[in-house]
Symmetry: C2
Subunit: 112 residues, 2 copies
């Protein structure tokens, strides 16, 4: 990336839910933006940690033993191999960092 990216402006142009848009790559990590509403399904990533930072709204990251309630400016890392199921009662906007695009069925994207 040779230009700067305004994260909130970029988020405002995303229309689809639970689809990640890559905005940059550093040291093999993809920095991706997404919006979501509703519930994904339970899944895990055996190859990578997945880091979330909320930009707008509220997301619940359901883990098998607890729920992580994430609000604006809050960050959480789902370690590799840990089952999780993100959900949002109303639209949430977030940054997600990981090795590749995980907004597919194996990555918890719901079939809508």
């Amino acid at each position: 990336m040779t230009n700067k990216i305004n994260i909130r402006k970029e988020l405002s142009t995303i229309k689809e839910h639970w689809s990640q848009r890559t905005i940059g790559e550093a040291n093999g990590q993809l920095f991706k933006l997404a919006k979501g509403v509703g519930e994904t399904h339970w899944h895990k990533h055996d190859d990578q940690d997945e880091l979330f930072i909320i930009y707008k709204g509220h997301m619940t990251i359901q883990l098998r033993d607890k729920n992580i309630e994430l609000y604006e400016d809050e960050m959480f890392i789902v370690a590799k191999g840990v089952e999780h199921c993100p959900k949002a009662e109303s639209e949430v906007e977030f940054l997600i960092v990981g090795l590749n695009i995980t907004s597919n069925e194996a990555g918890g994207k719901p079939n809508i």
Copy 2:
């Protein structure tokens, strides 16, 4: 990291300038917070890209061929090997992502 981190609250507790505080690690990357004011010195990282996201204020990332003016919610990646010299006329708060702690003299930290 098994707990969430509130990035803005964590930033509010940082007192020293140009010193990075690690708040999480994912896939070998450190997610670090820092504040800065004034000018660092010219340096480069041959081993890693360095990603900046501004949380408060304004930072100029001076490159040899241009200046990148970064404001709140803006992201920029300094590619490995690229000389840069961040500066801020007033205090700036930011997230920085890379392989290790670079707030040392080799990483541009000014001797104050």
